[in-house]
Subunit: 248 residues, 2 copies
């Protein structure tokens, strides 16, 4: 039995997200599984590093699957890219040790959120960035972003109700990179709560636009009340860039 690891890029605009939903043809996992199952004659199930929401993109989602196929890696990748729709691309295929698990062994992930910061929208970036016409204070946004770095209880910055599960997470870094009007907010962390990045982004942008203050972040960490934070910005600005693994 082989264990295959693959790295997948997708433009999420047309999909209901990564995770397969019954027989729906509208998920990335479903698309890939159908092709692999046809290719191998086995019923292939792939394990992704984690879900991505409807409309969210990936430069480097990672998944693995077990197969008895003896195809070469090259032939496998070529077959996948020939039959996958053009908005899903398998960038790399590797044989990995049997114990490798794309979700359990992920130690951290990099996500980027892109905004298009201009009074006029962009015809090209419309599905891959959130259009923000506000004049933003980048120095304040940098300060705001650094308040999220480190180990915190992110309950107030997630869509979760208070639950028994811990909402403590560690964000390793947040970087703001300007590419002209297209601005990237790169997050690296061990794991993120549901909607955590999109709510943090809504909060950073509210501070940049002067609708919230830096001190509000501390207050929300203390209160844990999600309603005090910024809006949940749209999924279509979010990219899963990279998944980092421990040695297995």
């Amino acid at each position: 039995m082989r264990n295959i690891k693959m790295t997948v890029e997708y433009d999420g605009a047309r999909y209901l997200g990564w995770q397969r939903l019954g027989d729906s043809d509208k998920t990335v996992q479903g698309k890939i599984e159908n092709i692999l199952s046809n290719m191998t004659g086995e019923e292939i199930e792939i394990v992704g590093s984690g879900r991505t929401d409807a409309g969210t993109h990936a430069h480097g989602q990672v998944a693995n699957f077990k197969t008895e196929s003896v195809m070469t890696l090259e032939a496998m990748q070529e077959h996948l890219n020939r039959y996958l729709p053009r908005d899903i691309v398998v960038k790399e295929v590797l044989d990995v040790p049997d114990r490798f698990h794309a979700r359990y062994h992920a130690i951290s992930k990099k996500y980027s959120y892109y905004i298009w910061n201009n009074t006029v929208p962009s015809a090209f970036e419309r599905n891959r960035s959130f259009h923000v016409s506000d004049e933003l204070n980048y120095s304040l946004m940098h300060q705001a972003s650094q308040k999220f770095v480190g180990r915190h209880d992110f309950l107030g910055f997630s869509s979760l109700k208070k639950s028994k599960k811990s909402t403590v997470r560690t964000i390793e870094s947040i970087k703001i990179i300007e590419h002209g009007n297209l601005v990237q907010f790169a997050f690296v962390g061990e794991g993120f709560l549901y909607n955590q990045i999109r709510i943090i982004m809504g909060t950073i942008l509210a501070i940049g636009a002067g609708r919230m203050q830096l001190e509000d972040i501390d207050a929300i960490f203390t209160s844990g009340i999600r309603a005090q934070a910024g809006e949940t910005v749209p999924a279509h600005g979010l990219f899963l860039d990279e998944v980092y693994y421990e040695e297995v």
Copy 2:
């Protein structure tokens, strides 16, 4: 009577090109005219700097139109961008002298052709670049491109049959700019023949891949035989970036 000049960006993937075709709703000109006509109550006709083919994009198409409307420029632009589909954006609207004509007064244009040069295609650049998996010799392609700069009879590099109209044109510059795997070929010239850039690109890429030789370019300038040149690369890699005007 006002004369309004506008700069338009569009993602051409869904359109049959710039130029209106009867009542078709599938051209950029048609989309804009419909909105302007509804906005002003007049029958507005816009004059573009030139056509762009089906699937071709623009960062800076220029057009003008006459109107008796007294709307502010700001209100006009806002109205257009509110009602236009999100893949067409009006970037600028200006009052210009009555005699300004977007086609007649254009003195040169900048186009860019993008290729995605990697064995694996790109999920994101798929509609905005031509996927080339060949290993390309960039130094040879630079030399090839410089052979097209200057004043030449481009008959062999156009889709025109021999006609009474001159096929002599001047290309001011061709620059190759690498953005990682995405490579831009930027053309500036006083005007281009039908398919000229796409055939020149097919020829440069054939030379880069070793399927044609540098000397072939000279031979085609001499023979004027289009069949000797490279393929016509797809429209979806082509962008009209900018139109330059004389003072009017």
